[in-house]
Point group: D2
Chain length 140, copies 4
């Protein structure tokens, strides 16, 4: 299955469709059914103590799988998150970016399922994992 | 089981511990093992089209159950979210606040489990539901 | 929204479609978007110690929401479970049946979402809770 | 971290502790923080049409991560499943075994988290995935 959008095309799409959050994310790699994106951690993502907040990790996981879907089906698809199960396993260390490695496990006619590991950008054990389901619009 | 913190005490705690987000939330009601909190929707919670974003709903669910736990165990407890399963069921209408109704299903020695419904403040069907698990520190 | 199948019709359907498990379940009450079903606990549902096994509780949750969907959309719908998030909160006491109280939170064109509480039939705190998503076939 | 129980020791433990289900499972490989187990599919695991039932897949996922925990912490640990999120992605083909590949993502003092892919034994795309959390007893 061919890639419909590469990292550059996805970054452009993000800027146009989600200007509020586009600068948070750096798309590092796009491959078939998989994508890696980095959260450029800023003050607004932190909790007291300098650790990345749960909502910021949720957002990263959501964006990672969303972009992995778009990479395969193209920018017209209006995928909607219907379910997320996320496990927070370790407190992220302060002062470093987080990387999300997403892979699509299913890309069906009406549903896509992907999982994602969230890792410290400088290496080390996963801080969180998530699985997300997207509903794909019928017009595909 | 007695309530350890009322709405006012919880609001004060939120302002001190999480000053970045405290103004987003209005604690409307605290009762035994249950709590209702409103997200005062602002520009930063929206996606294009004026609908509340997934991460903003995740945050609301997380805060609601977290506060319900604190209401029962008091401000010393450093509860940490370990798991969240969230279902996004309907697109929230633009231009209105969201309300989270949380209840604790379990408040054990090391784990607390709560679920939460997210509803439009002006009435109507639930837009999301979530279940969250918190790890409670041993020093309790 | 009218009920398409009552308790008797659902029980008959269960016997025809799932003869292996039909005798395990007693449908106690069917109402709009909600259903209560009892697991008639037998030896095969138990773990050593006499407590109901996790898989038996998973099955009960799955059947409860599945039947709640069928009650609303009728026997032709071939709903397929796509996701389940289940929390096991307390060990069920030995020697008593379990009851599942399911309600549908969403009954859309392609997806249905329901949650369910699993309670001891003789009363007491919930032993488990679950949320399930079903994919509904397009021929509806 | 050393392996505390190998495949043979785990199989013996399963026979003693869970004689009702032990014959269903063949432990194929044990390594650090990972384990592969096969469900020897029999009539009782099937739905009409010959496809493996959801509860049978839930059980397989649960056993796989449970055994992966025991492999690391030894037979004294009485791990209890507290949460499972499972996605059913494809209908398993009739007439073949299923294999679960589990890996532990966290093995903490009080909680263990593992995920698992369920695949057709003869190859092909994953039919389900799951993440499970276990509470570990304090006496460890």
């Amino acid at each position: 299955m061919a890639i419909a959008m590469d990292a550059e095309a996805l970054a452009r799409f993000l800027e146009e469709a989600f200007p509020q959050v586009a600068e948070d994310y750096v798309i590092e790699e796009v491959s078939e059914m998989a994508l890696r994106v980095r959260l450029a951690v800023a003050e607004r993502h932190l909790r007291p103590g300098g650790t990345v907040s749960g909502p910021a990790m949720f957002s990263l996981a959501d964006v990672a799988v969303y972009l992995a879907v778009l990479a395969m089906v193209g920018p017209k698809a209006l995928a909607v998150t219907t379910n997320c199960s996320i496990d927070f396993m370790r407190k992220p260390a302060a002062g470093q970016d987080l990387v999300a490695e997403a892979r699509l496990l299913k890309l069906g006619r009406v549903l896509a399922v992907g999982d994602v590991m969230i890792l410290p950008a400088d290496g080390g054990a996963a801080v969180a994992r998530a699985t997300l389901t997207y509903s794909l619009p019928p017009e595909r």
